[in-house]
């Protein structure tokens, strides 16, 4: 009898200890998350970080990777019902030649260096004058609402980020495209982010949130 009790206790103990071993990748994260190659839980596509987990964005929204917020895509704005709607003239393709920005508000054609076509946008004074997906480029002589392309895009090398504003592949941890070669103090970065000097880490400068930037 005693032996049976001991055997039962031992069996229960071993079963309990082994229970934890049965932890595959699909079981390691919570709702709207996935286990990444970096061995951490990250939000699934079209979900953003909130305190304690991830929340999905509404249909039609996109993720602002730098600020972890659900925003309307470039060229759209949120209506009174919270739905993203096209804004006439905003984001229309332009080249300053045959494709012009005829809307009286979005009359600025923003063309990236080395690009032939751009998008129609508006002048601004600060971020409040731009839609959520845009940043007021106050470092320009004539500030305008601009976007940053490629931020957060998965990459293995900077070749994967070529052609985007986020042209640097951070391969140490996140393996995503980041915005590099900014100027500390000028902060040519997406809204609410700053240019961070990481030269002591061998990374040069990168755009990051102020709280993530070592002082």
């Amino acid at each position: 009898m005693t032996e049976k009790i001991l055997a039962g206790l031992l069996g229960a103990f071993v079963a309990g200890a082994q229970g934890g071993c049965a932890l595959d990748d699909a079981d390691k994260c919570g709702p709207h998350m996935e286990f990444s190659d970096s061995q951490v839980c990250t939000c699934v596509e079209n979900a953003v970080e909130v305190t304690g987990g991830c929340e999905p964005c509404a249909p039609g929204d996109v993720v602002d990777e730098m600020n972890q917020a659900c925003v309307c895509p470039a060229g759209q704005t949120r209506d009174g019902g919270g739905i993203c709607r096209e804004v006439a003239g905003l984001g229309d393709p332009c080249n300053g030649d045959d494709l012009t920005c005829d809307d009286p508000l979005f009359n600025r054609c923003a063309v990236a260096v080395d690009a032939t076509t751009g998008y129609c946008t508006s002048s601004c004074v600060d971020d409040s004058g731009c839609e959520a997906a845009y940043t007021c480029a106050v470092w320009e002589d004539e500030p305008y609402c601009r976007t940053f392309t490629g931020v957060g895009q998965a990459c293995e090398s900077s070749d994967d980020c070529a052609g985007n504003d986020a042209g640097f592949c951070e391969t140490l941890q996140s393996h995503t495209c980041q915005i590099a070669t900014c100027t500390v103090g000028i902060d040519e970065c997406p809204r609410d982010n700053i240019c961070c000097d990481l030269s002591s880490y061998g990374l040069g400068t990168l755009c990051s949130s102020p709280e993530d930037c070592p002082t």
Partner: protein, 444 residues
Amino acid sequence: MTRSPPLALIGLEALLASLLAGTAAAQPPAPLPQPAVAPSPSPPPPVAADDGLDGLGDLGLEQALPAEDEALTIYGFADVTYMMYFLHDDAAAAALFPKENRFAVGNLNLYARRALSDSWRLLAEVRFLYAPNGATHDDGTIDQTSTNDPADFDRPLNWGGIEIERVYIEYDVHPRVTIQVGSFLTPYGIWNVDHGSPAIIGTSRPYAIGEALFPERQTGLHAYGTLNVGEYTVGYHATLSNGRGPYETFRDLDQNKAVGGRLTLEAPWAGTLKLGASAYGGRFTDRDSDISVIEDGKLVNTTPKGVSYDERAFAADALWTHGRFHLQTEIITRHIAYRNGARGVSGFGEGFAPDSFTYGTYGLGAYRFERYWNITPFIMVDYYRPIASQYLDTIATVAAGLNFRPLPSVVLKAMYGEGWFPGAPDLLADVHLRTMVFQVACIF
């Protein structure tokens, strides 16, 4: 989802710091983080141990309890260590630890004990610390607790803190049932119950012990007892506590009590064989305080979820003594499952911490000679699988050393340790951390 790299790098630094600390007996400048606790239950004042092998484990700290003792007894132990890290100046770990060879005053622990009656006892243990002086932060700054001494013309002095290691009152309900209430050492394995620096053979704990896969101590109720069955001794422990938390000694933020237990068997097989199995289940919660707002004329209280997870830990241990030969081993596992909406950040600069299964094991062998201050050569191997990360898969260490006992209450130790990281990616693939540690520990 991305987050900028700076935090990732800081997380890596923390990881390396953790590795070095656990791998090779490395401790912050002073005091040493080695837990300074004597064996439970209720260690009495130290007396000279005999020369038998049992003395390896207790050094006189585990004698039979006396009956009622009106006197308050104060005793304790202390240790001083000389540490040598063999680090290159450009090693990542060199930025995190004082790489200079150095002396370090480690533990200074005082016990206060009184037998209130034949069946009631009180034990309190405090550790005196130099901390937070010398605490190093992620940004490279170091705390300095210098202040002016008003008793000495405001000349500078450095102040330190006190850690209450444990305090409990215990009562013998029955010859086979004793109950403790208060803060007590978690009864699991061999090391956590018997690991004051004079009592342990080496200079540092195995990784699986140091990482606290079981909580090192708990606050609540602890019942224990033994039963002799022929040549065998069967023991049990059962615990009910606040579980883990940032304020576990006086708050239970999730109001979810943790339970645990341990069974032991001592048998006269080829000497003496002691076997044990332990289990623990509880919930960890770290959150901000409640928020109260007035809505529609009513006071509405909200409790933030904070970071919270459920954990289960299991351990098995064996201690075999045969003549002057001593062999002990433990294996410890821990499973963590975060609650929805209460997941902690990863600590590696990106994303959230995953649910995890971690485990570790070690083996320690020693042989104690009668001559030359009871010289005791020993070897310890340590294997640990931490929470998965892209930087690290496994930590392995091997340590060997000598232990002397010139007096029953004084122990001298010398230990060389080497740690490495099997399966690690390039960053740590070829890293070997080596240390040499000398220590003198005594009971007073």
